[in-house]
């Protein structure tokens, strides 16, 4: 009895339906294999080192690994380079599968996710005695050191001197400027130079918002959860609305278009912004992408108009962590210790991962830095007397803050909700994200 056309077609539709649907549910964590070269394999002296990077960092890191293995012939390290966005998916999957890499390049937004859940090794044995004050604390979770600062960073404003020249304006005095003055300067330079943004990318900066709430005497996060209230969030959204009305921060469409753009297409790089929020370690890349135009570094504004009261801090651009499950904790610690304290490492890395937190190491490599890195090193040492205490790392779920502040902020800028309502939603969602 052969199948007739009807049965065949019904069957085919049904089978295809079943097959495609099943593929979907099979998207369970276990199915995304990956991580064949994770920690658990080989002898105890074979270590895996995972990091995200760029071509320069990939080359540097391999050179560092080679130098380290030459000095420690009994340890073998295999580098696993990655790309920031996919790095975290892979790390989570590897950790879930019990084969996390032994040495992990870590980010401030993720350190508590891993640290509070016992996935990271206690790095108390790493020598951080020569680190500049305030640079060790970022890596502490519940008073235990689980991440060693691999480079100092600070959130600030880049200014494109060419645009200011075009507008025939001087750069603002960043030691005294307030948030309102930032709006005034931004509006003036945008209209005189004819660019869409006076200041770009403010809305996506959880770091500048962090200084803003600290200027109000609050914190982004406290050990108990969210450290600020709807009032501060609303003030921040009102500030952005004011800047938008003054034509200093771009239109809502431009703001939301800017957010997903890669660095080499960002507004300040392509000459669409006079100023833009960035982290200091991105200066070299921005300068290179902008055809060598060295951006000026401006301190973020304050409420009081005093740079010393703007409550900024030394961020860790990235940290070194190790898996709690590594078979060879001593070797992992040896690498981190070597990276933090041995000039051999610093001479290869220079300031690519941020300004070295170890004061002696910085002095050693400073003459070798590029013009952009020199400018960053100068900025980092200039603000030494201005930095406030280092805030605690975002607790689990806290890493979402940049996305959440941006999303509700977009609603506010588009006029879909009031700043009060947007702020309420922002705070509510953060509170629920922190309840993991």
């Amino acid at each position: 009895m052969a199948l007739n056309r009807r049965q065949f077609l019904i069957g085919a539709s049904g089978l295809a339906a079943a097959a495609t649907t099943m593929g979907l549910a099979a998207c369970a964590p276990g199915s995304s294999g990956g991580g064949s070269q994770g920690g658990g394999q080989g002898s105890a002296n074979d270590l895996a080192l995972a990091f995200w990077g760029n071509p320069t960092r990939n080359k540097n890191t391999q050179a560092e690994i080679d130098a380290f293995m030459k000095a420690n012939p009994d340890i073998k390290i295999a580098g696993q380079p990655g790309e920031f966005n996919t790095y975290w998916d892979k790390l989570a999957t590897q950790t879930a599968g019990g084969n996390a890499p032994d040495i992990i390049q870590m980010d401030m937004n993720y350190i508590s996710e891993y640290g509070t859940r016992g996935a990271l090794l206690d790095l108390g044995k790493v020598d951080v005695s020569k680190f500049v004050e305030g640079t060790v604390d970022s890596g502490k979770i519940n008073d235990k050191l689980v991440g060693v600062n691999a480079g100092i960073n600070s959130a600030l404003i880049f200014a494109n001197p060419k645009i200011f020249e075009k507008a025939k304006m001087d750069l603002p005095d960043d030691k005294t400027w307030t948030w309102d003055q930032m709006i005034e300067v931004g509006a003036e330079v945008a209209s005189k130079a004819g660019v869409p943004f006076g200041v770009a990318a403010l809305l996506q900066s959880d770091a500048l918002f962090g200084t803003f709430v600290r200027q109000h005497g609050k914190e982004l996060f406290t050990p108990d959860g969210l450290g600020f209230d709807v009032a501060e969030a609303q003030d921040w959204y009102d500030l952005l609305l004011k800047g938008q009305k003054a034509k200093a921060f771009g239109t809502p469409e431009q703001v939301s278009e800017e957010q997903p753009k890669p660095l080499d297409q960002s507004a300040i790089v392509i000459g669409n912004a006079a100023m833009q929020y960035y982290n200091s370690n991105q200066l070299e890349a921005v300068t290179a992408a902008a055809g060598g135009e060295l951006m000026k570094l401006l301190r973020g504004p304050s409420l009081a108009g005093k740079a010393t009261e703007r409550k900024t801090w030394y961020k860790a651009s990235m940290l070194w962590s190790a898996s709690a499950k590594t078979k060879n904790p001593d070797a992992a610690i040896a690498w981190i210790n070597w990276f933090a304290n041995d000039p051999a490492a610093a001479n290869i890395d220079l300031a690519e991962r941020g300004i070295p937190p170890n004061a002696e190491i910085l002095a050693e490599v400073k003459p070798k830095l590029s013009a952009a890195q020199q400018a960053v090193a100068k900025y980092i040492s200039d603000i030494k007397t201005e930095v406030a205490t280092t805030p605690i790392a975002p607790p689990p779920g806290g890493g979402t803050i940049a996305a959440v502040i941006f999303r509700h902020g977009t609603d506010v800028l588009f006029g879909k909700t009031s700043s009060a309502e947007g702020a309420q939603k922002f705070v509510d969602e953060m509170k629920s994200n922190l309840k993991v």
Binding site: M1, A2, L3, N4, R5, R6, L9, I10, A12, S13, G14, A16, A17, T20, T21, M22, G23, L24, A25, A26, C27, A28, P29, G30, S31, N85, W88, D89, A92, T93, T95, A96, E113, Y114, R117, G118, A119, P252, E253, Q254, V255, S256, E257, Q259, P260, P396, G397, G399, T400, A403, F406, R407, T410, D411, F414, K416, N433, V436
Partner: protein, 318 residues
């Protein structure tokens, strides 16, 4: 398949004595074994790659699982949480809009082009390839990046509009009102794979029906409605079922166009994108697994509805 079944029919009619029946059963058993042997690679794949993870994901959907710590049983809590998760509701709204608008438009485009191509034009293989190309590229990252740049404030689309004197200043991807529509457009543009299937179906309709209809004085439109549509209905049904299932699982385009955020203002927050955010950004794999199962149920329901109503309009011609 038919040969085997015919053989067994012959055997069955001939087999009379118990001895013969026993031998036949043995033979059939051997045949079955060989069949299963051939199926083995697929079966192993089904069990290990799809079945295993599916069961695991069903289990995880009842747990609180951060990926880093061992899962902890929470019963139906993940499913209960879905009721007051505004972003989940938003993502469902976005996905349903995408499916209910995108799929019909895509199929209409596919059918229209297939009919044009079926007119026996010269260079058909060339045009077929050209129109098929987008569906191979459509879900690629490169096209999504290109899409983003086309629909920016100063993107290609607005530049063309300005050439025609229209003062276009809208950011099609930056404005929450329009962002989803650019992705729906991208979906419609990838009409190639249903088009190829339609084309194959059109080829199977005997030309004599049209000849007879022409002789009787039926217009082209009447021919299309009375001959093409009914005879093509099984193919339309097949494409509809398949495309709906695929559309519900759309991910790449939204992920790349919004850089994984589902923005602006969650206007392109596809269900799968939100699932990914929960699982890999917020480390709530248990909740993400529960969401995956909700999607399975939704897709199964849509497919069942499709099959149910198919009785009313799908004509199998036998």
């Amino acid at each position: 398949m038919s040969a085997i079944s015919e053989l067994s029919t012959i055997h069955r009619t001939k087999a009379k004595t118990p001895e013969e029946k026993r031998l036949l059963a043995k033979e059939a058993g051997r045949d079955n074994k060989a069949g299963y042997l051939f199926l083995l690679p697929w079966l192993i794949g089904l069990v290990l790659i799809i079945g295993g993870p599916m069961i695991a994901s069903l289990y995880l959907s009842f747990t609180n699982y951060s990926l880093i710590q061992a899962p902890e049983w929470v019963g139906l809590a993940n499913y209960a949480r879905m009721f007051d998760d505004p972003r989940l509701h938003k993502s469902l709204a976005v996905t349903f809009t995408y499916v209910l608008v995108g799929v019909p438009l895509q199929l209409i485009a596919a059918l229209a082009i297939a009919i044009l191509l079926n007119e026996g034009m010269k260079g058909l293989p060339f045009y077929r390839s050209v129109f098929y190309l987008p569906s191979m590229l459509g879900s690629s990252v490169a096209i999504a990046v290109l899409w983003r740049q086309m629909f920016e404030v100063d993107g290609l689309v607005n530049q063309i509009l300005r050439k025609f004197g229209i003062p276009a200043t809208t950011s099609w991807i930056g404005d929450p009102q329009y962002a989803l529509w650019t992705i729906i457009l991208l979906h419609v543009w990838t009409f190639g794979s249903p088009m190829v299937i339609f084309l194959a179906g059109l080829r199977q309709i005997p030309g004599m029906y049209y000849e007879a209809a022409s002789v009787d004085g039926a217009s082209r439109w009447a021919q299309f409605r009375k001959i093409t549509l009914p005879l093509l209905s099984p193919i339309i049904f097949f494409n509809l079922v398949l495309q709906i299932i695929n559309a519900f699982q759309a991910f790449t385009q939204a992920f790349v166009v919004s850089n994984g955020t589902g923005g602006p203002a969650d206007s392109t927050l596809f269900f799968t994108l939100y699932l990914y955010q929960r699982g890999f950004v917020q480390f709530q794999m248990g909740y993400a697994a529960a969401m995956a199962w909700l999607l399975v149920v939704i897709i199964a329901a849509f497919t069942a509805i499709n099959f149910y109503f198919s009785k009313r309009w799908v004509f199998y011609g036998d």
